[in-house]
């Protein structure tokens, strides 16, 4: 039996089936066009559509007794001559093929990265992203960035130009910015912290401005915590340093006490020796005499202040002992690295005056200006015959000065002169 021999009812049913399948294929083709997948599927759909369109057209014409014109009329007249079983087979194959292509296309669409899926992915990201073209208009932006801009500026995001408003701090109440290093942090009213980083990317010949907002709330909180802890540690360490400075004085007092205890013990031994004084040998008597002399003289000088404890006084006394007079002009530093280096410099120059220059006077002038301390030392002895090569004490002195962040220079032509500058 051929198609043309079918009853009208049967033709209507087959026509409806063809029409439904046709709609299905057209829908599939449209979806394929949107997803921009392979041409193979498009060709398949088109073939199915052609077959189904032709069969729909034939049945419509047959049922409505129309005279068909045009391309399809020739094609559809072929349908009439088809045996029923071959048409059923063709229709089944077409339906199966359309279904298979639709499933494969569906899987491909699901697995492929389409613009929609890209945007969906970006919207799921915890960080804000946006791209703008050269005119500043937004071309791609995710939900998070929209939220950030909205919360910071109270406006919809239109482009990276708006980021200038963040830098200029035209922010909503409760928002603020903080600059640390090379980053700008935006802090929103909900206490979230965003690290705003801008840059540019090239895509083909076009350039796009990029802005990414990283959620650094946790790191920011931890860095504040670390800052507080460091501050606390600095305070504690400063207290230890201060205590340590006090401890020097306390320990010296303890040494003094220990020495006194020893003298006390010596006195005790002296008293014990006294018991055996009479009729004893010369040696015991001599030891006893020494002990008593120590005890008595210590008790006498116990309350006398130790005037030679001052560094410069000690240096002046030492200089006199070797035939050199020290002349101080200007401030003499007290305590710290400056005093230590100052004393070392005077001592070194004094040594050189005696050993090399055979001088009788050493002139030390110093001043403080703009937070820097400068000392110049020269002697009245023989000038060096050639440039001074720094060895031994001078080299050690230079190392100390450099370590303290200072500068040291020497001149020799008009007599040796040492200059040290410390800015602590």
């Amino acid at each position: 039996m051929t198609l043309s021999q079918l009853s009208f009812d049967s033709m209507r049913v087959l026509g409806v089936i063809s029409f439904v399948l046709l709609s299905f294929c057209i829908f599939g083709l449209v979806r394929l066009a949107v997803s921009k997948l392979g041409r193979v599927f498009a060709v398949s759909y088109l073939l199915f559509i052609l077959i189904l369109l032709t069969s729909s057209f034939y049945f419509d014409a047959a049922v409505n007794s129309k005279n068909a014109d045009g391309f399809l009329s020739a094609f559809s007249s072929l349908f009439g001559a088809l045996p029923l079983w071959s048409f059923i087979l063709l229709l089944s194959l077409t339906a199966a093929g359309a279904a298979a292509v639709t499933v494969v296309v569906g899987i491909r669409i699901k697995r492929s990265l389409t613009p929609a899926s890209l945007l969906e992915g970006l919207d799921e990201m915890p960080d804000g992203i946006c791209y703008s073209d050269e005119s500043g208009a937004s071309v791609l932006m995710n939900r998070k960035m929209q939220h950030i801009i909205n919360a910071a500026l109270g406006a919809e995001f239109t482009g990276t130009e708006q980021l200038k408003d963040i830098s200029a701090e035209k922010l909503c109440p409760g928002c603020r910015t903080e600059t640390k290093g090379d980053g700008t942090y935006l802090i929103l009213p909900d206490e979230t912290v965003w690290d705003m980083r801008t840059g540019s990317v090239r895509y083909g010949k076009e350039r796009f401005d990029e802005c990414i907002a990283y959620d650094v709330t946790e790191q920011y909180g931890k860095s504040l915590e670390m800052q507080k802890r460091n501050e606390h540690m600095r305070t504690v360490n400063e207290q230890i340093r201060a205590y340590s400075r006090e401890m020097d004085a306390i320990i010296r007092d303890r040494e003094l006490l220990d020495a006194k205890i020893r003298i006390h013990d010596d006195m005790g031994r002296a008293l014990l020796s006294l018991r055996s004084y009479l009729g004893k040998q010369e040696r015991d008597r001599e030891a006893l005499t020494t002990l008593w002399r120590v005890t008595v003289s210590v008790l006498r000088c116990e309350t006398a202040p130790d005037v030679s404890a001052d560094r410069m006084t000690a240096l002046s006394d030492a200089a006199e002992a070797v035939g050199v007079r020290l002349h101080f002009d200007g401030e003499i530093p007290k305590g710290g690295v400056t005093e230590k280096i100052y004393a070392a410099a005077v001592r070194e120059c004094l040594t050189n005056t005696v050993k090399h220059a055979d001088g009788g006077n050493l002139y030390i002038s110093s001043q403080s200006e703009n937070g820097c301390f400068t000392v110049k030392i020269k002697n009245d002895g023989r000038p060096p015959s050639k440039p001074v090569v720094e060895t031994g004490g001078l080299l050690t002195l230079r190392k100390s000065v450099v370590r303290a962040g200072g500068e040291m220079s020497t001149e020799w032509e008009n007599g040796f002169e040492l200059t040290i500058k410390l800015c602590l």
Binding site: R241, S244, M247, D306, A321
Partner: protein, 207 residues
């Protein structure tokens, strides 16, 4: 036979006076100079010969006897030096040996007298204590600490952070923390601060 010329360097008047009297009471020795600062000791040697120096280590004016001993040994190697101290700071003995200081005497705890040490030193003998004075730090004795722990403790007593200690010793910060933890466990002290202060007071470490 000429007497042995002795220089005393000690910032404490009582200690200086004691040494002076011992020397003056001896026929073998004569007092050359008695100074209160280590900084100036070598200056006197420029023009005045000295055979033996009794050098205190920790000075009032911030100068350090071992630093002065090092400079003197470099310029005047023939001068013999006896380092004297009452502090149990453990690193001073090894430093003194390294510098070439002939002898070392603990003022308070050494069983030998200073005159005996002087005699042996001038007889070209090197006299060093066999053991360090043992002091107690909290629940621990000073001999219970390792060398490294004492190095860490010495720097901590200056108020340095763990990072600064690590940098100075060339170790990691975690290693520093481990040493501090170990010392706290040994001493029973509650905090790093308490450990640093007590160590400094006792003088087990001095920087």
């Amino acid at each position: 036979m000429s007497k042995i010329r002795v220089m005393i360097v000690d910032d404490q008047a009582i200690s200086r006076h004691l040494f002076e009297l011992y020397i003056q009471g001896s026929e073998k020795y004569e007092l050359a100079f008695s100074l209160s600062s280590a900084d100036v000791a070598e200056v006197y040697l420029l023009k005045h010969p000295v055979d033996l120096i009794l050098m205190d280590i920790l000075m009032n004016d911030g100068s350090n006897g071992l630093d002065a001993a090092k400079r003197i040994k470099e310029r005047y190697p023939a001068v013999k030096i006896i380092a004297v101290t009452s502090m149990p700071e453990h690193s001073w003995i090894s430093r003194a040996k390294k510098i070439g200081v002939e002898s070392f005497w603990y003022k308070e705890t050494d069983e030998k007298t200073i005159l005996e040490v002087m005699d042996r030193t001038m007889a070209n003998e090197s006299v060093y204590p066999n053991t360090l004075p043992e002091v107690t730090l909290g629940l621990a004795k000073s001999t219970e600490f390792t060398e490294r722990e004492l190095e860490v403790l010495r720097i901590i007593t200056t108020g340095a952070t763990n990072g600064a200690v690590a940098e100075e010793l060339g170790i990691s910060e975690n290693t520093v923390k481990a040493h501090v933890r170990s010392m706290l466990e040994k001493t029973g002290y509650q905090s790093r601060t308490e450990l640093a202060i007590k160590a400094r007071v006792i003088g087990i470490t001095i920087k």
